[in-house]
Amino acid sequence: MFAFILRRLLQSLIVMLAVAFIAFLMFRFVGDPVEGMMGVDARLSDREALRDRLGLNDPFYMQFWTFVKNAVQGEFGISYRLQQPVTQLILSRLPATLELAVVSASLALIVGVTLGVFTAIHGRLPPSTRETLLALGAVLGAGVAFHLLGGGSLLWTLGGGAAVFVSTAFWAKRFFSQAIMAVSLVGVSLPTFLIGIGLIFVFAVEMKLLPSFGRGQTVQVWSGWSTGFLTKSGLLSLILPAVTLSLFQMTLIMRLVRAEMQEVLRSDYIRFARARGLPESKINFRHALKNTLVPVITITGLQLGSIIAFAIITETVFNWPGVGSLFVNSVQAVDVPVMAAYLLFVALVFVVINLIVDLLYYLVDPRLRVDGRAGRT
């Protein structure tokens, strides 16, 4: 197994090299960094000189080579846009992103898995037409009622409608699980941006409960790591972005768990587990769930990776000072050193996450383990 990990780490070097290569291949399509770096009235000759100095006139493989040479020495250059060392920039943004990612991934995982199991158990049969119409009617009806009564704005009414709907739906589990399934889809069919702004509007602007942007107050834990976990405003600030970010994954995980669960729940070993007299909760959450985990782990890993890497929209909407928004700004400014170093970092994240995912497979499923060790001939 150590050999396996070692091999994977070696492969990751190749992956990162490939990432860097493709990155440099694509940078020239992102735009011209010099535009952003020079004042509008810079002379053409000055632009040209700067371009030369930055090596932008070199063919991309030369740029790539220079980058690799420096990167090997741990040297990622200075950001064109902010004129600060790239490594330092990325590191300073990392805590914000990691905290957000961890919180929203846990949220997505816990809620998604719970709801997935719940809906798998209670909503085995697809909702009937009547139920679907009822669900839609409840949402719209409550919305309209709110609208007429409160005369508030549209988002309010829809938010209120959803709340009423959810609470009434609690009366009937089966109905509730259908409702979750349907409502969760709204979460994935709308752009993250819209959801984020919607939440800001309801919870920050109208209710003034939660901050609308930023990380709140942060505390330096040890050199370079500032955390928002330790202050009230930091925690409050985390809520909306974490919810926004986790909504999509929550739905995905929930639907995956549900799909797999329904299948597993029909298997003989679950039937036998029942025959053994194990309680429902143990059967569902221990026996059945574990058998659904392989795809769930895969997707969770991928999603965690993309949250760390590309929580772009959420970070922008909530002005969250993480690496995602750093990346957006860098793309807009064609900040090549940041983009390049950043993409390498992302590659590392994915390589590591996927390695962990693969190891988790072995942990979850002993049958894979044997295969992995005895090897194929």
């Binding site: 197994m1 150590f2 029909r266 298997s267 003989d268 070993y269 679950i270 039937r271 036998f272 587990a273 029942r274 025959a275 053994r276 007299g277 194990l278 309680p279 429902e280 143990k282 221990r286 026996h287 574990k290 058998n291 190891l359 072995y362 942990l363 979850v364 499923d365 002993p366 049958r367 383990r369 044997v370 060790r373 005895a374 194929r376 001939t377």
Partner: protein, 557 residues
């Protein structure tokens, strides 16, 4: 009905049980009003045609019919208390604690992702107030009682690391973990060799005697019935056709079905009327023509720790377990080689290596002259080798209809491409294993254990391959169907000169089918030779013990 009228309330009482499957193309009635009682301390043997509804009865009692199946009418009483209408939450309390169940398919009954120990311990702790260590101790002793050697060592293995028979014993251990009042044992010994079988029967019997438990024992093995059951229930097509004390029914069967059933029981002694194995028919010339040759076959498994996180991940403390140890034998073309032996002795492992599924640690296998594990061997194996798996259910793709499953080898070898022709061929095959061709349009999960096994057999036979590895091909079949399948197999052998490797615990079947036989124990081939010679004059101690342990119908008082 008034329970008080009886002197002793029956532990289980079933009245007019009707089970329906509302299927797409109409309602299927699996049980047509089944009624019976089991008194405390009594063992009720249930026998009958494969697909008769035996397992269904057991599942209905414990409330675990697979949907869309449901109890349409009838009543089930446990100790006089009606349980068929209990809410799920109440049923949960009965299961395991008061009703123990051994399901028919022991191989798919265990959760593949938990170690045997974890599953035992959680069941024990669910029902008995024990702590982790005590539960573990009890789990080990249960396993030992069920006949698993070195249980303390093997308890941390995963189900897939166990042999078929070992898994079956785990399932039995799980069923009796909480000393239930009623045990529904659905073919509990089908994968066990006779000596272990005897031991398991003893355990069940003890449960009856010491706790007054009632046992509903579903089995195809009349010998077992004879050994343990007090009364017998004969089922056919969803109905009880006959019931009564064991001796009476066996000696004086009344119903034609029962008569036929009892007639089909193979015996260990060679039946003069039975078809003589091909050996006699084939001239001596075939003798030197070894179609399959196995040389010094050895296979090691590493028994991974189910223990700590890193132990599981890195397998640091894994031990090597030698499942097959230096086994050599050969099979002549057109003949049958029987492999018998202790459960867990490495028979299936051998079979899988010969079929090319798992690589041997050392040793070589030649089929038709080509090394199976070399490149060209791989290609020739494709055409010539088929296998019937010990676990027929798992070997059928759950997403495929039976028609496609059986037709697959025909399609794979491109024997014909006409849809109609394939369909006809499949229908014919199904009929030959006594299944309705309508089965083509159903999925594996819609069948009884024996029916699934027959599907697997039909598939293996569909292309008349030169060599078939049969791992317990008839373990789930009732004697009459078994007789028919064995006839079919030997018929094909005569006609096309097929070669079989036949693994079975049923020594009578081996005697009937095999030319040569090998006896395995703890990975070692104890002895090997012509079947008559070995069965009549066993040399190895183990073989003798095995032969002695065969339950004998004649012993029924």
């Amino acid at each position: 009905m008034t329970e008080t009228s009886d002197v002793r309330t029956p532990v289980l009482s079933v009245r007019d049980l009707v089970v329906d499957f509302p299927l797409r193309r109409g309602n299927f009635r699996a049980l047509h009003g089944v009624s019976f009682d089991i008194a405390p301390g009594e063992v009720l043997g249930v026998v009958g045609e494969s697909g008769a509804g035996k397992s269904m009865t057991g599942a209905a009692v414990i409330g675990l019919l697979t949907p869309p199946g449901r109890i349409t009418s009838g009543e089930v009483y446990l100790q006089g208390q009606r349980i068929d209408q209990l809410p799920e939450a109440e049923m949960v309390k009965l299961r395991g604690k008061r009703i123990g169940m051994v399901m028919q398919d022991p191989l798919t009954s265990l959760n593949p992702l938990f170690t045997v120990g974890q599953q035992l311990i959680e069941t024990i702790r669910q029902h008995l107030p024990l702590n982790e260590a005590e539960a573990r101790a009890r789990a080990v002793s249960l396993l030992e009682e069920a006949g698993i050697p070195r249980a303390a060592e093997r308890i941390d293995s995963y189900p897939h690391q166990f042999s078929g028979g070992m898994r079956q014993r785990v399932v039995i251990a799980l069923a009796i973990a909480a000393d239930p009042e009623l045990v529904i044992a659905d073919e509990p010994t089908s994968a066990l060799d006779v000596s272990v079988q005897a031991q398991v029967i003893k355990v069940l019997k003890k449960l009856c005697e010491s706790r007054g438990a009632a046992i509903m024992l579903i089995t195809h093995d009349m010998g077992v019935i004879a050994q343990i059951a007090d009364r017998i229930l004969v089922m056919n097509a969803g109905r009880i056709v006959e019931s009564g004390p064991v001796g009476q029914v066996i000696r004086h069967p009344r119903e034609p079905y029962t008569i036929k059933l009892i007639d089909s029981i193979p015996t260990l002694n060679r039946d003069p009327g039975a078809p003589v194995p091909a050996e006699a028919a084939a001239p001596e010339a075939a003798a030197q023509d070894a179609y399959v040759r196995v040389e010094n076959l050895t296979r090691d498994f590493s028994l991974g720790g189910g223990g700590s996180f890193f132990g599981r991940l890195f397998g640091g403390e894994s031990r090597i377990f030698r499942a097959v140890n230096d086994v050599s034998f050969s099979i002549r073309r057109g003949e049958t080689y029987g492999l018998v032996g202790e459960s867990g002795s490495g028979k299936s492992t051998c079979a899988k290596m010969i079929a090319g599924l798992i690589p041997p640690s050392s040793g070589r296998i030649f089929v038709d002259g080509a090394d199976v594990w070399s490149a060209e061997g791989l290609a020739s194996r494709r055409r010539n080798v088929q296998m019937i798996f010990q676990d027929p259910y798992a070997s059928l793709n759950p997403r495929w209809k039976v028609g496609s499953i059986v037709a697959e080898p025909i399609r794979a070898l491109k024997l014909t491409s006409s849809r109609a022709e394939i369909e006809d061929r499949v229908a014919d095959l199904l009929r030959k294993v006594r299944l309705d061709p309508v089965a083509m349009r159903k999925y594996p999960h819609e069948f009884s254990g024996g029916q699934r096994q027959r599907i697997a057999i039909a598939r293996a036979l569909s292309t008349q391959p030169a060599f078939i590895v049969c791992d317990e091909p008839t373990s789930a079949l009732d004697v009459s169907v078994q007789a028919q399948v064995l006839d079919l197999m030997s018929g094909l052998q005569e006609e096309y000169g097929l070669t079989y490797l036949l693994i079975s615990h049923n020594l009578a079947v081996i005697r009937q089918m095999a030319n040569d036989v090998g006896v395995m124990r703890q990975g070692v081939l104890e002895e090997s030779g012509p079947v008559d010679e070995i069965f009549d004059h066993p040399k190895a101690e183990y073989t003798r013990m095995l032969l002695d342990a065969v339950p004998d119908l004649d012993k029924v008082a």
